[in-house]
Amino acid sequence: MVELSKENFEQEVLKADGLVMVDFWSQKCEPCKELSPILDEMAERNAGKAKFCSLDITNNKRLAISQKVLGLPTIIFYQNGEMVAAFSKDISVEDVEVKLNELA
């Protein structure tokens, strides 16, 4: 997973070619921490199909809100910098994986 921040978000996501997945999370969010190992496995299984990134919103709230994220956990897919799909709250990694393969 590529770790994102307000410094590299534009470069790594908005100006990136191809498919990018961003996992929005924070230390205070228990469901996010439940999700992250399962998400890591999914990313490993699908290596190469997208760039997998995560953004800890703790010091990046404004950035998250600019991406219309106002709740955790949230996963967003970007295609050539454009938001193309989003998942929030009770996220099933199976659904995310289906969407990934659809977009890849």
């Binding site: 969010c29 228990e30 439940e34 709230k61 709740g71 955790l72």
Partner: protein, 406 residues
């Protein structure tokens, strides 16, 4: 073949962790399967100040962390595994996990907990994660200096609203009751009324959440007048009760109409060797303390269950001789007479054993063999029931059967 546990707990909240502490201290091989970090819903509750011995300033995550350490210190294995399929009918229970592992255990404690209820109003699903939230600790950060609405007025709603005031500019609580009436405890109500950041809307429910991309406003309906009013807000937090996480358990154990698991006082479900504990159980009060209590009771009941099962197997089902199992009760004179007659007979035959079962202390075994009246004498050979004499039991009848089977 993988090893067989004595207890596998499905769910790592306070019920599961307490069961782990009690189970491991009784030297039972105990594992807890938990989807994420242990702690359950309590780990997402910041303000937790009614667990005895832990006063103000205690947080849910900290208390759960120390419960988890406590359980581990006695030898409970806490495994990051999500149960996806359960086979509970047999003597050995099978649990398959998302990681495709299969766990085997003699008993199971179901403690998957509950999750927040949704109201299914317009905008609730489409704006989830975009201002609609069910978890204050997850999302409070976003609402620094913004305005939020809380729906609900039970303990969770009022306590989480207090937590939100540390971040948000205003927290408006929508209450269905008349002014001043809250379902939460009095201490929390008093503090909420004193909090200048909290505003109240009485006799009202939420009708719709509006917003293009992010939450912008809510439609609030006054249930007395039917009047609808639009109110600008940045976030909506729902705390309107919970629903049990029992989808996996439908058709496996008895559930009530709302989906909660039905148990008796020993936490036994409708299936032998399967217990339930915590918020998932049909009960009066769902709190950390009652969850922990359920877990302790289930683990102790299991210890007795395993002893009973082992002893019955050893003394009856695996016995090399003919065994007479006599169900009796100290309150039943006829059954006491039968017992003394059987004791006398047993001493006369070399390959005959008598096992006495007090029906009050061995209700499960009595139930399994359909014992409805006593005295009742069952004859077992090589683990199988050969015959039984129910009620009136003469010495001649017993001698006939002994001679037939011995």
């Amino acid at each position: 073949m993988s090893e067989v546990y004595d207890i596998i707990v499905v769910g790592g909240g306070p019920a599961g962790l307490a069961a782990g502490i009690y189970g491991s201290r009784s030297r039972l091989k105990t594992a807890i399967l938990t989807k994420g970090k242990p702690g359950g819903q309590a780990a997402t509750t910041q303000e937790l100040e009614n667990y005895p011995g832990f006063s103000r300033g205690t947080t849910g995550p900290a208390l759960m962390e120390s419960m988890a350490q406590h359980a581990s210190s006695f030898g409970t294995e806490i495994l990051r595994e999500e149960a996806v399929e359960l086979d509970l009918g047999g003597e050995i229970k099978l649990i398959r996990t998302r990681s495709k592992k299969e766990y085997r255990s003699r008993t199971v404690i179901l403690a998957p907990g509950a999750e927040p209820r949704s109201l299914n109003i317009k905008g609730e699903h489409s704006l989830k994660g975009k201002g609609v939230s069910f978890c204050a600790t997850c999302d409070a950060d976003f609402f620094e200096d913004l305005d939020v609405v809380v729906v609900g007025n039970g303990d969770a709603a009022i306590e989480e609203a207090m937590y939100l005031t540390k971040f948000a500019e205003t927290v408006t609580i929508i209450v269905i009751h008349d002014e001043g009436v809250l379902d939460c405890n009095k201490a929390s109500a008093e503090r909420a009324f004193d909090n200048p950041k909290i505003k109240w809307v009485w006799n009202s429910v939420l009708d719709e959440i509006k917003g293009d991309g992010l939450v912008e406003s809510v439609m609030v309906k006054n249930i007395k007048t039917g009047e609808l009013a639009e109110m600008a807000t940045n976030g909506v937090f729902f705390f309107v009760g919970s629903v049990p996480k029992t989808d996996l358990l439908k058709g496996k154990v008895e559930l009530d109409e709302q989906g909660y698991i039905v148990t008796n006082d020993l936490m036994e479900t409708s299936v032998a060797g399967v217990y339930a504990a915590g918020d998932v159980r049909a009960k009066y009060l769902r709190q950390v303390i009652t969850a922990a209590s359920d877990g302790a009771i289930a683990a102790v009941a299991i210890e007795k269950y395993l002893v009973e099962e082992d002893s019955f197997r050893e003394r009856v089902l695996e016995a090399p001789s003919l065994v007479m199992v006599a169900f009796w009760s100290p309150q039943n004179g006829a059954s006491i007479e039968v017992i003394s007659m059987l004791e006398q007979l047993a001493s006369q035959y070399k390959d005959l054993r008598l096992v006495k079962m007090d029906t009050y202390r061995n209700q499960r075994v009595a139930g399994r063999y359909g014992i409805k009246e006593i005295p009742n004498v069952l004859f077992f050979k090589n683990g199988a029931e050969m015959a039984r004499i129910t009620g009136q039991c003469s010495r001649a009848d017993v001698v006939d059967l002994i001679n037939l089977f011995i």
